[in-house]
Symmetry: C2
Subunit: 308 residues, 2 copies
């Protein structure tokens, strides 16, 4: 019988706990702040309380409930504890849908059409084949790679960038600092699907926006802390960016009265791009609990030096 | 040397004429109203003047410049003249992009997100896989069939309806009156890609909308005359329809002050969904002129009894 702690300051973990018990009724589940959690061997986390792992002497595994684990590890003392994340093909499907809406929105001028509608103006935009539309994807991981391939299947001219070199069919793959510069200077629509690391924090800033061709658009569904809101606001207001679709923000919910709500040519969405279904999350976590118990290799283990 | 008439009351045919001459410099082109057109053997048309074909004694072929030829044949005396239309894979690509934006808009609740943004409201919508979203396509022809297949590839649960029975991989195909009723009663998102015929004129009316489940959405990029604007307005205003994306209208441009411009939950676009590139149009028409001259079978000939 494995004791499992459910640790979140912000999310109700009860539905996840019920699904985990469906997969293994023998699990001994305890949710923070019930102090029983302190003796757990496994911690299942989303935005856990600060410093909590140091109070858990028997802890052997820290498990996230999503693809991003930045909020699980941030500021925590982890020692050499393994940290695992959940990845799911359904998550990439949802992300491709979200990104595709955004790419079509700018490529096919639905942004212009919606603006024109408010002034009752009938103005047919220029029609260009997808092959003429250059889309750049930052991040070619578990989510970025399928999204890049999906856009390429739709006929777009897709470039992708990652820290280390990758190869993807139908996608021009770039890497490193020089590759980033090449990608930024050539894209019409930039899509951010990076993980949050110390290198990528605050990366969507004035300096990056200045490298994009005038009139480029941004689709941001990476992590909120990638974005410097004031810098985005500035390039939307001065028209350097054609527009943006942004799903994640440094502070969520985006507070009422925040200037981004009413920024010109910006579509704000409420962190809705994708999510693994809780049932998939529960199954993957229980599988890893069994692997830990049996001494088998864990799935989805994160390289903490890289941060993803 | 074939004499060709370019006949349109509404479109400047000069760019098309230049491209046709690039493919065959020997063509003898004359644009209405220059009376030389009267002796032409071939008429290339978009909204031609009424009754004009009866004044052209040597006419052997009437050619449209798009997939729809309703505006070419409407009210015209054609006798047994062959009528051809232009179809192009690029046209289907453009249509799939347009329809996909619309389907994603409703399936992924971008409509709600955009409404919520105006009131600075952060409200995460429910996330459902594409397989749970039922899309119905009216019309499975040169444009409808590739659109249906493209949506199926994106994982949607796609049904299609046509007048006569068809088979398409990954698409539930229905036909006839009973099939139409089945489709309407089960769709969440209805996409109209029908040709305009006497049977389909005014088909998007109160009676059809009443058969849709409450909260269904409409994507209309068939022909303007399919739509009864007052009936659409009524189901948008009373909330029976969740929303609509409409590209074509009985009167185009949609006049300023028309109530559809400001109808609730309606996105109006300026007949922008798709268009074959003029170069493709020119090449196909010139090919058919050569086929006519050589007595070979014409491409894209329309069955005038069916109307498409």
């Amino acid at each position: 019988m494995t004791r499992v702690a459910l640790l979140s300051r912000t999310v109700d973990m009860a539905p996840l706990a019920r699904l985990m018990l469906k997969h293994d009724a023998s699990l001994d589940l305890h949710a923070w702040p019930d102090e029983q959690f302190l003796q757990a061997e496994v911690a299942v986390c989303w935005e856990p309380p600060q410093g909590i792992f140091t109070r858990m002497p028997r802890l052997q595994l820290v498990h996230g409930i999503a693809a991003g684990i930045d909020n699980v590890i941030e500021g925590q003392a982890l020692g050499d504890l393994p940290v695992c994340r959940v990845t799911d093909p359904g998550q990439a499907e949802g992300m491709l849908q979200y990104v595709l809406w955004g790419v079509l929105h700018f490529h096919r001028s639905f942004d212009e059409a919606q603006r024109n509608q408010t002034s009752e103006r009938w103005q047919r935009p220029r029609l260009r084949p997808a092959a003429d539309c250059r889309v750049g994807i930052l991040g070619l991981g578990e989510v970025g790679a399928p999204v890049a391939r999906g856009l390429a299947r739709m006929g777009y001219s897709v470039s992708g960038w990652s820290r280390s070199a990758k190869t993807l069919d139908g996608v021009r793959c770039l890497h490193g600092d020089a590759g980033l510069q090449t990608l930024l200077q050539s894209v019409e629509i930039l899509v951010c699907l990076l993980p949050l690391t110390e290198q990528t924090r605050g990366m969507l800033n004035a300096q990056l926006f200045a490298q994009l061709p005038p009139g480029a658009a941004l689709v941001h569904c990476g992590r909120g802390a990638h974005l410097v809101p004031d810098d985005l606001l500035a390039v939307l207001r001065d028209g350097r960016l054609r527009g943006a679709l942004v799903d994640v923000f440094p502070q969520e919910p985006l507070p009422p009265g925040h200037p981004l709500w009413a920024a010109p040519n910006l579509v704000v969405t409420p962190h809705m791009a994708t999510m693994a279904p809780f049932d998939v999350v529960a199954r993957q976590i229980v599988e890893n609990i069994h692997r830990l118990r049996d001494g088998r290799e864990l799935q989805g283990q994160v390289d903490l030096l890289r941060g993803y």
